[in-house]
Chain length 184, copies 2
């Protein structure tokens, strides 16, 4: 009877370790997706460049992402976040091997939260500018530029998607880390 | 010798419970500050209204926060976050009384992360628009409006501060919850 109880206890310990390892592997997997998403966003925005087919003697109509400081911030934020995610992969692999690690998980949850704030800041600031480019604002006399720079607008709008996927993944990563911390 | 060891063990348990309670009280305190900051931001932005002292027969020059959809989003986001924080106070008080609670802490860390994303989105989108109102953008022919609507610009810029304080507090709250989860 007693031996049975010990066996069950041992079995549940093994199961728990398995679940912990599963969560760590999911963590690694989500981070890889987030790297692809944010790096894709940075590259898509960073290579945005449209030259209109007509020009005058003095002016050549050209739109680049760096014409708008917010888009530059977007590229920088996405690049920083994807570099951080790449570094954090090492930590994530460490957690797969050592599922009982505590201090490193706390550090990771803190940096994840901070990086999520940076990514959200870049993405939503750019979304505000993209909205303005599409709709304009009559009260402030800011006219929409998307009628002229159609491809520029499509490209910048599209590049936001990766960032927003990254934000959702970060929320999940924080949740996963919290779950791992609670299951020791 | 053995009795001494037990006593030390008991003492460290009491100390740990004290530290846990201290962290929960700090959590409550930070939430109250965040409520004041975000509610202040929402009210400051929501009551922004400037009418210029000159007008023509047809037009009265008037700037309200709702002229810019991004500012409306800012007010809504701050209001939602402060309402959430108010509700989470109950949870925080529960954690002061029961320092061993696990599931509720995990739920809290998840919602904290999600609300932080919402708050950051509102704050940084508004920051992008405020920057545009101050500096304008020559490439897109968006002219700065702050020369005319000076007080409007000051008020909207100032109201961002509370939101950014709120974001920093949220990062600390996530860290605190992670620390509490790890110290059982």
């Amino acid at each position: 009877m007693k031996a049975g109880a010990v066996e069950v206890g041992h079995g549940s310990k093994v199961t728990q370790r398995g679940v912990n390892r599963g969560m760590s592997i999911l963590d690694l997997f989500l981070r890889i997706i987030a790297i692809i998403a944010t790096l894709g966003s940075a590259i898509a925005m960073g290579t945005t460049n449209e030259t209109l087919p007509f020009f005058t003697q003095f002016v050549r109509f050209r739109a680049k992402y760096s014409d708008l400081p917010t888009f530059t911030f977007f590229v920088v934020a996405n690049a920083i976040v994807s570099a951080y995610l790449l570094l954090s992969l090492g930590m994530s692999i460490f957690h797969i091997m050592r599922s009982r690690a505590q201090a490193s998980r706390i550090a990771l949850i803190f940096f994840d939260a901070a990086m999520m704030a940076l990514l959200t800041a870049g993405a939503s600031a750019s979304a505000a500018i993209v909205y303005l480019a599409h709709k304009g604002n009559t009260k402030t006399n800011w006219f929409p530029i998307c009628q002229q720079y159609d491809s520029f607008c499509h490209r910048t709008s599209g590049s936001l998607v990766g960032s927003f996927i990254g934000i959702i993944i970060f929320i999940l990563l924080v949740l996963l880390s919290a779950l791992s911390l609670s299951r020791r």
